[in-house]
Symmetry: C3
Subunit: 396 residues, 3 copies
């Protein structure tokens, strides 16, 4: 082991590592506590990260890479990611490099060192529950740990929604039965069903899914509310001040809010909602996995999607979709000439000539539009919105 | 301590207290078992009432007030509410006054005395989990205990929906993470996340909210069903025979049903539904916090709100809102002359002249109306309902 | 006891039993582990089957019946079902007949024998948790065990949806409070509320219902997902590859899917959905208990029910119901002459003459129809669908 006694020793070592040929600067890295298959312990069912590093803390990255190298785990030069079991040597090496920080590593300080201190104090047999993962680029994730690391980055707001490559994540994650935070292999359950039921020990399964729930891994901001954990999937991002009610709402992974929002409807995968918007009870924002022609939908700020409305086009700021109507790409909206003029004023970049009927897709992304079905004629209409959308301050 | 041996002694003491200057007749009072903050134990996260007194049991109120007085807790003369920690002296005093009832206090009898007997037998360190709360008038609640006491009164049917002052309740209740019935301070979770996750002890959070769920505190009537606890917030009131299905339904606090109802949709805050009504799958009744212009909505008896309908006006009895339509204050409904006549007959107090188009708000509270969108013209229409709405006897 | 040493002995015994006068060939039979009332232990709250026999394993049925007979439990000759407590003698008898299979009974082999081995090894006081149930015909279920056995048959796919007599099941099942898989009598909770709350032991109730949840008893196929256990009631049937999202979805008992489906909406009691169909977010399929005139609705293959749509008629294959609209029996749809011709071509057995307007009920069960509300006129229209409905491969 290297002899690292002072902080200067430490920085010198980090410099040395970072210029050595095996070092690769990571996009992200972290130590995961993993749940392994009951039937096949080589199968990773879930990865829980006490702390993640996302484009940050490169000194720790260097130390971890050297400790891996010294403990016989070679960093591949051409892979987009790598995952190793944590072993006693890796921990001892890493701890030895961190000597000058050990005492300071408490509370908010030096979280990677704190993680290593926990690992140092663990009995040997518990180390098998931990793995170290490095992502070197944002490629298709290949391991459960890599998928979880990206979901953490999204849900903890370290990476913007839609910014990460999650292609193939469904293929990587195993489908498991969740009893609280504990995942079970379905095959193991099947093989043990008779015994568990005879003994009265059959688990109480909350869900069967590849993804965990957001609240199984993420602590929301002080003023964020999620009234039913089932309603927000891991990988969703909720800005502080967002409230997700339990009626018909849902926020899928890689979807969410950019500021305080009231969410009583569905924010499908890849949909993003701006601050101050109100997604009414049962309102549906279509997602790339369901309904849209593949374009992810952005809803602007201070929009109101009425109860049981459906929105299949992007909206700008201050739009209102009336309760119960569907605004789809192909829906034709009548616009009166004077309303067309006002809409143009509110959207100076909108390059359109007047006509009576506009398809939904032609109005995509415009601000200040009110979408309505005329109750006397059944005709769908768009006009300049004259109501200001304001969230109730207490958000229920 | 006073010497109370016989029941006569007891009543004499109660009379004496009730005419003493410190006694204040309460609106409500109760002993709460509280959950305190993990980080800040002075912060009350939840109050659980084994039993509440709401405009009743004034003898117990007198005894409790004297015991408080004797144990050094002064009842304020000008506050709308007061909360004290339960201490050993308070318990000993109160128990001593209740001597003649101690043996009888079992089962349904003398529940306040039963509570004191439990407190008497507790080890000292457990007493810190209990507090005594008095409400003297229905003012804005100032403490967590006062908010919970009012929510109990609503949910246990001791106070009618919309009858209580809950202004500022959102500001009083802390936002906490719920693991089952156990609330966690978010800040404590954040400070302990790394350790809990390293140890594999991170809690399984069901919800993050200021309010608990109805079923965390309230036992519904024998023939009431709630298929998903997340769907009914504490402070809701469900009349016996109500069924709340798990699809898109939700019943917010200060909202609910007045008789057997089928609830597959949303009953927003302040909305009240009469007996025999069927709130179809995904149907939305707008609430004062979301959608209405501030008027709470009452739905009468034997109404049918069709699947995915939206109702933004009050309805009388026997109304039908067709599946998928929105009945809002501004929606214009065509009424044929002969239907107008029939509606008038069904609503003799309705003071209206015939015209072709009525706004929703003009039809508010009328009975026997069927709201529909004409499928050939798209026009919204209102006519005299000719179907009798009857709940399925088994209510699913 | 009979002396059964070889497999030949066993088969000889089975033949002997099956021709004896007391033997009745069952429709189904099984050993249940039961949860008994906390207040009234004679009341059965839930029956958990480690393994069920449905029109199969008649040798085990014979052995069980002889063991019952020998242990003093007489099989009635004229009842549609019978349930007995499991006692020591019954177990000893049954085990003695199974001698030749005892060693082989592991894993997937001889599950009835495995069950008996568990019972043999149980202490006497635990035997009271087990009961044996026989159904001799598909009559109205009379016991909790009989209802559960039928729900198992449906949910495990051993009996087709809608094929079983469940009349009166709501009357047979007690309404209980569920804490995970543990049912509580409401009356017991009420009697113990004060004590449980004082002690801090009040249970965390997830639901109050007569039925348990599907995932409390059934292990879905490897590629089936249920993101929220509250969303699927016991007695539902989900074909492998079905995904049930947590937004506004729900699958009631005696309802479900026949192949891979995406379910983001409600499949009401008795509704059945064909493979490849997509039930959009908040979409409602009406059920016999809610909305239809009593005819159970079948949705064909590769249909798309748009977000927040309502379907009240059966559909054939390849139909599309646009987002937000309601297709009910009485809804009138305009069909253009050329579309009528195409629909007839797609449905050669459809015996209809051309007219402009068809009621929903007249289009029931037809394939290849697209239902839409014209956005310029509000008129409801039906035309030949030209889009192929394909599920997203990863189904979210």
């Amino acid at each position: 082991m290297s002899s690292v006694i002072t902080k200067d020793d430490f920085f010198a070592l980090v410099n040395e590592i970072q210029s050595s040929p095996y070092y690769r600067q990571p996009l992200a890295f972290a130590i995961a506590r993993v749940d392994r298959g009951q039937k096949d312990p080589s199968k990773i069912l879930q990865a829980t990260f006490p702390f993640i590093n996302w484009e940050e803390n490169y000194a720790s990255a260097a130390i971890f890479q050297k400790a891996l190298q010294e403990s016989g785990c070679l960093i591949p030069l051409d892979e987009s990611e790598v995952v190793f079991d944590v072993n006693r040597n890796f921990v001892a090496e890493a701890i030895s490099y961190c000597t000058p920080w050990l005492d300071e590593a408490v509370g908010e300080a030096h979280k990677n060192v704190q993680v290593m201190k926990y690992l140092r104090d663990l009995p040997e047999e518990e180390l098998a529950n931990f793995r170290v993962v490095f992502l070197f680029e944002d490629a298709k994730p290949k391991s459960v740990e890599a998928v979880y690391l990206k979901l953490y980055a999204l849900s903890q707001g370290k990476a913007p929604l839609r910014s990460l490559n999650l292609d193939g994540a469904f293929g990587v994650l195993p489908n498991v039965a969740w009893e609280g935070r504990k995942p079970y292999e379905l095959e193991w359950l099947r093989e043990n069903e008779l015994r568990l039921k005879m003994e009265g020990n059959y688990p109480n399964i909350d869900a069967v899914d590849k993804f965990p729930r957001y609240l199984q891994h993420v602590i929301p901001a002080e003023n964020t509310r999620i009234l039913d954990a089932a309603k927000v999937r891991m990988g969703a991002q909720l800005a502080p001040g967002t409230t997700v009610m339990p009626g018909a709402s849902y926020v899928n992974f890689n979807a969410g809010t950019l500021g305080p929002c009231m969410v009583e409807g569905r924010i499908s995968s890849s949909a993003v909602v701006g601050k101050g918007s109100d997604i009414g009870g049962g309102a549906s924002i279509l997602g790339v996995l369901s309904g849209t022609s593949g374009n992810p939908i952005t809803i602007g700020e201070n929009c109101l999607l009425g109860a049981n409305s459906v929105t299949g086009i992007p909206l700008g700021d201050g739009c209102i979709v009336d309760a119960g109507i569907a605004v789809l790409e192909g829906t034709k909206f009548f616009i009166a000439p004077e309303e067309f003029k006002k809409i143009k004023e509110a959207n100076p970049d909108w390059d359109a000539q007047y006509k009576e009927l506009f398809k939904g897709i032609e109005l995509a992304g415009l601000s200040g539009i009110h979408f309505r079905q005329d109750s006397t004629s059944g005709q769908m209409k768009a006009f300049r919105s004259c109501k200001e959308v304001k969230l109730n301050e207490e958000l229920h």
